[in-house]
Symmetry: C2
């Protein structure tokens, strides 16, 4: 299925702000020794984060690289997801996985490779993906004149495509497994890597290899397949809003923005802090298109052979990019508590050795209670870094709560509590922290969502004419609701002129009849335009 739309791409982070796509030895390395240790207390900018207002793209890249979510690899367009970023993805994965299983789906695994002829079986599908396929043509290397080279004798009769999406190979398997209406529905998901050759990449948002889940279901009736499509876009909305704290608009894509091969594409669209939209997940009603192309046929209750109805739906590591650009600030990442790999970090502070032991034992006591209460807490007892450095470090990584504990706190039964999302530091009782922190984390979760939603809601504008649409997109950004009568030429013109696309069409936006932009024909359909990642 389609995860990214066909937006205008971005200047690759690798082309600017010091990122490196290939590894010159020593290039991009820090000076030997402690990572800035000892120069703590100087605020986020000391960590070298470009302010949002100065250069939004550089800010984003700094957060991903310096927050150690991901790094550039020596392979063009492919990223390395570092442990902190991968633990975030594992948490996102586990949350979705739970909802997928609750809605009756099972995980499986299908081959990485797709025979080239399979792509061609569904006409619009191959058209959509042909220009971004990694193609395997040989299966052996040999020593040649200039070192090793693909062995010409190992050339494949039919090239294999590294999967850009798996409707075709999975369709072929479903055709094998489905005989009767009793074999339906098939409700399968896979967590996998996929490859789409991208010319302009940006960490998490658009990479040649990315990581996702793709659900593929086959049903006896059209209605069931349509219900499945909507059920899964609702799962996406729920996880995006309730876990990533990322408000989304739910609607349908226009024909031009649909997944290649779909009858309908539903999407969740988020809004980033720079006023650009991000497609964050899609669910496709595929009708019988793939069932016909791959002969997913069954004997129905009436004994007649017929084609199944299929769906597919996916979210990807792109969500991490959305998460970063929804909540973060000039000090670094801001993690919503429900997702944060570390929800609270404890920083013990001491000068003398006897203080160290007392602080450590005090910390051990309440940390054990926090862990028992299910709080993901980490004690940063690294001795090579000063407290101020550690404060900045964990702010950069977006940990929701920081607890500072010094010798005087031990005596008083207190600690200092700081929220990553702002507000004054507080001195609080350590007694009862195990009930106080889970509540506070939920408050922070709600506050992040409310803040993002207020920003998003304030960024939905209206335009009544083509000129007003263009002006609003240029001057205000955000989503612009405009009357559109379905004319594809007008849609294409907007894209050409201001690089904005129809992000989604929602039933609830229909209303007042107005002359459609571009054509002047009366329409009650109002649709959301935006520039997008």
């Amino acid at each position: 299925m389609g995860d990214g739309g066909k937006g205008d791409g971005n200047l690759g982070g690798g082309d600017k702000a010091g990122g490196q796509q290939s590894l010159g030895k020593g290039g991009g390395k820090q000076a030997d020794g402690q990572k800035g240790g000892g120069d703590g207390g100087k605020g986020g900018s000391q960590l070298g984060i470009t302010p949002r207002a100065t250069d939004y793209a550089a800010w984003y890249q700094d957060l991903v690289l310096k927050g150690e979510l991901a790094d550039y690899s020596p392979v063009r367009g492919c990223m390395v997801v570092r442990p902190y970023g991968w633990s975030l993805w594992e948490r996102i994965r586990d949350i979705f996985d739970r909802f997928f299983k609750e809605t009756g789906h099972q995980n499986a695994q299908f081959p990485l490779f797709i025979p080239m002829s399979f792509l061609a079986k569904e006409a619009s599908h191959v058209e959509g993906f042909a220009k971004e396929c990694a193609v395997v043509t040989h299966y052996r290397l040999k020593a040649g004149a200039n070192g090793i080279e693909p062995d010409p004798e190992s050339k494949l009769d039919e090239p294999l495509i590294v999967r850009p999406t798996s409707e075709t190979i999975i369709g072929a398997m479903y055709a094998k497994w489905v005989q009767s209406w009793r074999d339906l529905p098939i409700l399968i998901n896979q967590w996998a890597n996929v490859v789409r050759w991208e010319m302009r990449t940006r960490l998490f948002l658009r990479t040649t290899e990315f990581f996702w889940q793709e659900g593929h279901t086959a049903h006896e009736t059209e209605q069931e397949a349509r219900e499945e499509t909507l059920k899964m876009i609702e799962v996406y909305r729920k996880v995006a809003e309730e876990y990533l704290a990322m408000p989304v608009l739910v609607g349908q894509k226009s024909a031009a923005e649909r997944f290649a091969g779909a009858v309908e594409t539903w999407c969740i669209e988020a809004l980033m802090q720079d006023g650009k939209a991000l497609q964050a997940g899609t669910s496709h009603f595929l009708g019988q298109n793939f069932a016909k192309a791959f002969e997913i046929e069954f004997a129905g209750r009436d004994g007649q052979r017929q084609n199944a109805w299929t769906t597919s739906w996916g979210v990807s590591t792109r969500l991490i990019g959305g998460l970063v650009m929804t909540h973060s600030d000039d000090k670094g990442l801001v993690m919503p508590p429900r997702l944060a790999p570390i929800q609270a970090v404890v920083i013990p502070i001491w000068r003398k050795d006897e203080e160290k032991a007392a602080v450590a034992s005090y910390v051990d006591g309440f940390v054990a209670k926090l862990k028992a209460a299910g709080v993901r807490v980490h004690v940063d007892d690294r001795e090579q870094f000063k407290p101020g450095y550690k404060f900045n470090d964990w702010e950069l990584r977006g940990v929701p709560l920081r607890l500072e504990v010094g010798p005087r706190d031990v005596a008083a039964g207190k600690c200092v509590l700081a929220r990553r999302d702002g507000g004054e530091k507080q001195i609080v009782d350590v007694a009862g922290l195990e009930t106080r922190l889970p509540e506070l984390l939920e408050q922070i979760q709600a506050a992040l969502f409310a803040k993002a939603k207020a920003f998003r809601d304030a960024s939905i504008h209206r335009a009544r004419t083509y000129e007003e649409l263009v002006k609003t997109l240029e001057e205000k950004g955000g989503f612009v609701l405009a009357p559109w009568d379905g004319d594809a030429a007008v849609e294409a013109k907007v894209k050409e002129e201001c690089k904005a696309t129809i992000r989604c069409i929602r039933a609830e936006d229909a209303g007042e009849s107005a002359p459609a932009i571009g054509t002047g024909q009366p329409t009650t359909q109002w649709v959301l335009f935006a520039k997008a990642y």
Copy 2:
């Protein structure tokens, strides 16, 4: 790292016993309608499982296909792991993952593609993998004379290899991340798919694409890296024996069987029911070989620049093949309770509608208690199948315990309890099942291990001469312990003559001095030969 060894391969399951590597429409499909529904009670052979004694390879394939662990795909050598097989792999993954994290490792994700030149940087590494590489040479398709084809204008300057293992790409990243001794150790694991082009494949045991974890660590000192290598082979032993109930021998590989690029390769070796060994996991001490090739250098405590010491270690979906061939029988799979996706299946039995409701409510009552006690229990209330069919179906799938509940059981507060691993059916009280079943499951776990260990121990033979070795390998199979002085020519001769290899060299096998096979030189080194998968 090396998961498979360079054994003699196998006739692909796809070449025999009805398996299909490509999907002719309709081929391999079952007759329309219920899957044998209604003809229950006829034993495993009614499900079409070839007896072990008749054809071991066909028996294995029947279990994997009919047990719905995996299926052939239309892509040569690549398998589809079906939901039941994938849930088993997810359980294996989660168990290993817990132990990896307990030993200080973090997960990350590195690119699928490796630049061809990277493989060439470590001389023995490229030699080991060049003959089984899937090579990406183009990044776009276009319409040609005969349909679509790779666009010649999209040819890559440097081909990319689909990772057969990731020491090279990860080495390049570690070189970027490591500056000082303070940056060490790096302890990272990834769960990933890998590709090694295989001419002869067998589901799970040897496939072109397979799924695994690969740990890659970098250390300040040789000793630390050696300790890591042994620590991880011990994790592998522990999970294999305590969770898969699969007894293994732990030892080192000979130079000829080592991973391409390793200084030492440690392995766990299991024994299958046909007397062939299975390499089930390996842990490699890589010395400074990859650190030199990829310039993983750091400033040491003495200020001098030096190379790191690295390790790598992996287990794969091959373990599922080992699991199947360790415990299963002619009725189907046998799942060790600690791994079984379903530990107990409940089959309600009734004739009249009023009985149905009473049985269902009775079942709900004790199933809720079993779930609360952590038992993975499933109620098979499918109405289209008769009880006898269900009994066979769950025996085929290897569920450790079956509970049959009829109207008379409801009245008596009883149920019928059947163990998949043999023994009489028992009538037991339903009261207290939630304490009885967890104990019984642990007993079954222990019994499966004991049985497999007794078989394995009885299959270790001794040979004092070359002739005796060959004769024992041919007539008895299993492991044969023989004196070997390290002569590679003798090792090669054994491989040539009886397709057997040195499976592992264990310190505890050293002992009595004897003339080495082949050379007659006195040696105290006794090593384990076997034919292997």
